[in-house]
């Protein structure tokens, strides 16, 4: 178990302790307020340089990270690597070394290959590496912002704050994850976070979109989606990764909608007060009906909003964490 991300890399949520996760969520709470100010900026990372290196197009994650870095007063070097490094003939090591030569404190890396962030951390051990999604492996900040959003919304309902809630409201919380678990880095990070925080996690997916070794995962597999919807406090939908070829794992998108889509009819099974989440971008009409996505149960926009304070917290803790006042 890794007990803190302070002064360390954030590569995966697998093996991160409950305290480490709560530390990030609590730090993010303090940055929420910054985002509500008219002048949305603190000098926490003034003079620090954060490189954002995206091998895969991802408008929202990239914007979210860059916004977070700027609100902490860090300088941002933004590099879009349009196509794969292989096609350009440059190795991952050369690309990162080149950027490192410009003088950076941290790199936010999105890559289509699992493990790329860990590899980069070996190439530039003096630079903090933040995984912004690697292949099918992990998307740690998504897992953190999802947990943050759940805590925030449920705390508000209880008339308290996320900070005061700590980890308590996660105990026994019933989380249902629906969709392409097999090809989802979000699912891997979400499951790690929710399970570590004490939630009970169930997953529902067509057989071909479940990992082959799902019986070894700390989750329960459910076949009856309607029944699972009636059980869950939180329903987290996954994007059907059409661009990753998951389309070939089900006969058609409409068949997926038929078996596992959160249709309007199916949403009638939801418990009152259940939260509906989606990491985006949504395939409206495939994994979620538009009317459900726009309903009051959906906290999808909150997830996007919370991406900024979570990423501020992650940047702050990984880059400046060792010198933080808490140490």
């Amino acid at each position: 178990m890794t007990n803190s991300i302070r002064g360390a890399n954030l590569l995966t949520l697998d093996g991160l302790s409950r305290d480490a996760i709560i530390d990030v969520l609590d730090t993010a709470e303090s940055f929420v307020e910054v985002n509500r100010r008219s002048v949305k900026k603190v000098p926490a990372l003034k003079g620090r340089v954060v490189a954002s290196l995206f091998y895969e197009e991802s408008t929202r994650t990239r914007l979210s990270f860059e916004t977070a870095a700027k609100r902490l007063s860090a300088d941002v070097l933004s590099l879009a690597v349009a196509s794969s490094s292989v096609k350009k003939g440059e190795s991952l090591r050369d690309t990162i070394s080149t950027i490192d030569a410009l003088g950076i404190d941290a790199v936010v890396l999105r890559h289509q290959s699992s493990g790329a962030a860990l590899q980069v951390s070996r190439y530039v051990p003096h630079v903090r590496v933040i995984n912004a999604g690697d292949g099918l492996h992990q998307h740690p900040t998504q897992g953190l912002l999802d947990a943050f959003t759940v805590r925030q919304v449920l705390s508000e309902r209880h008339g308290t704050s996320g900070l005061e809630s700590g980890a308590e409201l996660f105990a026994g919380l019933r989380v249902l994850i629906v969709g392409d678990v097999r090809h989802s880095r979000v699912a891997r990070s979400d499951i790690a976070a929710y399970v570590t925080l004490g939630c009970t996690v169930r997953v529902a997916a067509p057989g071909t979109l479940l990992p082959g070794d799902i019986e070894h995962w700390p989750v329960e597999v459910v076949d009856d989606v309607d029944e699972a919807l009636a059980w869950a406090d939180v329903v987290s939908l996954l994007r059907l990764q059409r661009e990753r070829g998951s389309g070939a794992f089900v006969p058609s998108l409409s068949e997926f909608t038929f078996t596992h889509g959160l249709t309007l009819e199916r949403s009638a099974h939801l418990r009152s007060g259940a939260l509906i989440m989606h990491p985006g971008p949504m395939n409206r009409g495939v994994e979620i009906d538009s009317r459900v996505a726009d309903s009051s149960a959906a906290v999808i926009e909150r997830q996007v909003t919370n991406g900024v304070p979570i990423r501020m917290a992650v940047l702050y803790l990984t880059i400046a964490g060792r010198h933080g006042e808490d140490e």
């Binding site: 490094s85 493990g115 860990l118 590899q119």
Partner: protein, 437 residues
């Protein structure tokens, strides 16, 4: 040619061992026995505490020539081979272009002739290794090619494989198969299982290998052909080959040192040095391979020595090419797997020399180039291909101290027991005191 005498070693014959000296004159063993008299000027090698055995034979090396000489060439591969105790190498045909015709085979044979070792060639089964049309096996056989394979990939189409086995049978050659059904394995980059699932890497299932082993055993039964299974990596593959052999089918198999020393957990750091096809499997598979080494199911240890230029191993795991070095640490890893200090030298040389020499049919020949005999008895009159192996020497693998052109060893920093002290190839001392002469 300077006479050489190997003094006071344990001479490992085919069935017995005895202490003594081995005298080598004019490229041949001229005397074996205790306290031999040697002619004046004989070069003396102290072999006390060492095993003197037949030179090692590697059935499976990628020498990368022609086409990828930056990673390795015949000459550099032969140097690394000599350091590893090898006196004969079989070069795989997945070069660029593939070794699928007489001109290219002759080219590599002639390059091999300039090294100190015997370099044999495995020809491609199909033209361009594309699995569509048979390569001219008879023409290549006339140059001395005795093994044919599309290694790198297996022959996917069962009807093509059936035809190849039938065609090869009267030629007196053996086909060799890289067993992986690409439809099942193609997208994957490590063993399929809990580790790959957690790491988010697409897996290459054991089944992809086992289905092709199963299929090819049935094709051998149907055609009466001869087949060698390359780098088997799973418990069930080994069991199927053992069963087929009990039925009298002409099948042989090899395993690679990495498959019996490393398992899939090595991939957890996403280091492409541990990426290989077939992939590193489970601990149980490692145990099964070790059992197969000891119980005689496995005919040969073969390295699948696969050099890659360093920049290619600096890519992401799923984008990097598969393959790792093997020549310089194969003997020590095999020695350790056989029990280290308790290892039986007869089994050691059966797996590293006599077995592979038999599979590759490495007899003395004078076709396109002259080759000597390997894996034979150590008696007067035999070609002098010998190795002096020190079973008590400890050494540490250092990637920067290897002798080929590439450094993609997965064993950097690993301490090993057992080291090649001297290699005598074609009657010449090519390695002495653990260094190239």
């Amino acid at each position: 040619m300077t006479a050489i005498i190997l003094r006071n070693g344990l001479v490992v014959g085919s069935h017995t061992v005895s202490s003594g000296d081995v005298l080598i004159e004019d490229g041949r063993v001229s005397a074996v026995g205790p306290a031999l008299d040697a002619p004046l000027g004989t070069h003396e090698v102290d072999a006390s505490g060492c095993w003197i055995g037949p030179g090692l034979v590697d059935l499976h090396v990628h020498l990368r020539e022609p086409g990828r000489e930056a990673a390795e060439n015949v000459e550099s591969g032969a140097r690394a081979g000599a350091m590893g105790g090898f006196t004969a190498l079989v070069a795989m045909p997945n070069t660029e272009p593939a070794l699928d015709n007489v001109a290219l085979v002759a080219y590599v044979l002639e390059r091999g002739e300039r090294t100190g070792l015997d370099v044999a060639v495995a020809g491609a089964i199909t033209q361009g290794r594309r699995g569509e049309l048979l390569a001219p096996m008879a023409e290549m056989a006339a140059l001395g090619v005795r093994l044919f394979t599309d290694d790198g990939v297996g022959v996917q189409d069962p009807s093509m494989m059936r035809r190849a086995l039938t065609y090869a049978r009267p030629l007196g050659v053996r086909l060799a198969q890289h067993c992986e059904d690409e439809a099942l394995a193609g997208a994957g980059s490590m063993n399929e299982g809990s580790t790959s699932s957690r790491l988010g890497l697409i897996g290459r299932p054991a089944l992809a290998e086992e289905l092709m082993v199963m299929r090819d055993i049935e094709l051998v039964r149907l055609t009466g052909g001869s087949l060698h299974f390359l780098h088997l990596s799973t418990r069930r593959s080994i069991a199927m080959v053992a069963a087929a052999r009990r039925e009298g089918l002409d099948v042989t198999c090899e395993v690679a040192p990495h498959h019996f020393t490393l398992d899939e957990r090595a991939c957890e750091g996403f280091d492409p040095l541990f990426k290989v096809h077939p992939p590193l499997r489970t601990r149980d598979d490692v145990a099964a391979l070790r059992e197969g080494l000891l119980d005689g199911t496995v005919d040969a240890v073969a390295t699948d020595h696969a050099p890659h230029a360093p920049e290619l191993k600096d890519l992401a795991f799923d984008e990097a090419p598969a393959g790792m070095l093997g020549l310089e640490h194969s003997a020590a890893l095999t020695f350790e797997a056989l029990g280290g200090a308790n290892a039986d030298p007869l089994v050691f040389f059966a797996l590293l020399s006599r077995g592979p020499a038999r599979v590759a049919q490495l007899r003395a020949s004078d076709l396109r180039v002259r080759h000597s005999a390997h894996g034979g008895a150590i008696v007067a009159g035999e070609d002098a291909n010998l190795v002096v192996f020190d079973p008590s020497a400890r050494w540490t693998v250092r990637r920067d101290e290897l002798h080929g052109r590439s450094t993609n060893t997965p064993y950097d920093g690993r301490e090993l027991l057992g080291r090649v002290r001297a290699t005598i190839a074609r009657g010449r001392l090519v390695v002495e005191d653990g260094a190239l002469t």
